[in-house]
């Protein structure tokens, strides 16, 4: 715990406002301009007691972070309202059956998705892989789960320290755990052939129940998430759709009442490749 970083800088400005306690706090909390911070450092160099105080305050900040930061990594409690529509929904009871139509509804949920069937078809053609996937046509709006997938990607993929709840080193435990919590067999596909290693998975609250998020990382540090949800009503058609939420591109489709969404910063062609591979591996039977 040294004060090494406090190197008084030579400042030959005119009379400045005297250093106050507020300056010391703001110095600790990095809320001062560089000029003012330099003055505070000059001041501290000749005031050992204040120096000690500042050091202790910094330490307080650090230990409080140490105490509370682990909360960030805890799985969110179930039933947390994650959208405006959700407010109409009796969260505490979590009564099943009330949840119909949550996904179908609401412009609030739909993103402006940009369907790009041509690019996707092209990607297919280039792949020359014969999967029975057809591209959706019609409107380009993302459905709810694709939006949530994009949001979840944004929330969790920047986490450097602990982006997942259960790491890939415990893949079997991850599979067992997710299968139990999701109520159906859930296994992360292997994307190593495409250069993405499984980092792990986490469970998130969805509208109707838990949702699984698998996180993959490429050698260059790019993150990719696969979001799997059971909460897709009705639609049985399998179609690939593409949309984006700011910098996050999403490929998503529905298969046997499961919704799948792959989110990444990568471009469409890349995502398409990944989507096909995921589709191939997850396809039942």
């Amino acid at each position: 715990m040294t004060m090494d970083e406090h190197k008084p800088k030579g400042i030959d400005s005119g009379p400045a406002a005297p250093i106050t306690e507020a300056d010391l706090h703001a110095y600790v909390d990095r809320q001062l301009s560089n000029e003012r911070a330099a003055l505070v450092e000059q001041f501290l160099a000749t005031h050992p007691e204040e120096q000690e105080r500042v050091r202790d305050w910094r330490q307080q900040n650090a230990v409080l972070h140490g105490l509370l930061d682990p909360v960030i990594d805890e799985p969110l409690p179930m039933g947390l309202p994650l959208s405006p529509i959700a407010k109409a929904f009796p969260w505490r009871g979590l009564a099943a059956g009330v949840l119909v139509a949550l996904l179908s509804g609401g412009s609030a949920w739909s993103l402006r998705g940009h369907l790009d069937a041509d690019a996707a078809r092209l990607a297919f053609a280039n792949q020359a892989a014969s999967t029975p996937i057809t591209m959706a046509s019609g409107n380009g709006e993302l459905t709810g789960f694709a939006h949530r997938a994009a949001v979840a990607h944004v929330v969790y993929s920047p986490e450097v320290r602990r982006p997942v709840e259960v790491g890939a080193d415990q893949e079997q435990a991850l599979v067992t755990w997710l299968t139990k919590r999701m109520g159906t067999a859930v296994k992360p596909p292997s994307l190593a052939s495409l250069g993405y290693e499984l980092i792990g998975g986490r469970l998130l609250p969805g509208d109707k129940g838990p949702v699984a998020q698998f996180m993959y990382g490429a050698a260059g540090g790019q993150r990719l998430t696969l979001y799997v949800t059971r909460e897709v009503p009705g639609q049985e058609n399998t179609s690939f759709k593409f949309g984006n939420d700011g910098p996050v591109n999403v490929f998503y489709w529905v298969e046997d009442h499961f919704g799948y969404a792959i989110s990444a910063g990568a471009d469409r062609a890349e995502l398409m490749k990944v989507s096909q591979e995921v589709y191939r591996q997850l396809k039942p039977g």
């Binding site: 202790d56 230990v63 509370l68 909360v71 309202p81 959208s83 405006p84 407010k87 929330v155």
Partner: protein, 171 residues
């Protein structure tokens, strides 16, 4: 814009949860606080105009709920046995779990208003101005609460504090 605000609110959730845990320590109570905050936020979302201040807005909502709960608790004093170490949930599983529990106890013994300011500044890293607007107090009040919180915590961490019975309770 709307979708982006939504995403920003959702992105606040992990830090709101961390803040709630610092405020009330008990995991379930903290999550209830988070739940109430989110419900309120979404119900007011459509009327909300101050774009770009999502964070301060969300922390402000949580502040209101926190204060409401404190008031309710104070009117039922049997529930407010806040200093009991045994009631604290286990949080850290590391070797320093005990140390963390002590720190948590010290934190919980700060007057709530001081705890709020300290957490918002030290952990959530809001600017003093953001803290002032979240709590609805002048910035001078933020600074004086911060100062008192840090002074008190420093004394206690240095073991120079008076025994608990002699610590002046700030209402």
């Amino acid at each position: 814009m709307r979708a982006q605000d939504e995403a920003e609110i959702v992105a606040c959730i992990p830090s709101l949860r961390r803040y709630a845990r610092g405020l009330v320590s008990d995991r379930d109570r903290a999550d209830d606080l988070l739940q109430d905050t989110l419900e309120r936020a979404w119900s007011r979302f459509s009327m909300w105009q101050k774009r770009g201040e999502v964070r301060a807005w969300m922390f402000g909502i949580m502040h209101n709920h926190f204060i409401d709960r404190l008031r309710a608790q104070r009117s039922r004093p049997e529930d407010s046995a806040g200093d009991d170490v045994l009631e604290l949930p286990q949080r850290a599983q590391q070797a320093d779990a005990l140390e963390m529990r002590d720190l948590d106890r010290l934190l919980q013994r700060l007057p709530p208003e001081h705890r709020e300011v300290l957490l918002l500044v030290a952990v959530e890293e809001l600017s003093y101005q953001e803290v002032a607007s979240a709590l609805g107090v002048p910035i001078g009040t933020v600074m004086s609460r911060l100062s008192r919180a840090r002074t008190r915590l420093r004394e206690e961490m240095q073991g120079r504090a008076a025994p608990a019975s002699r610590i002046q309770r700030v209402k």
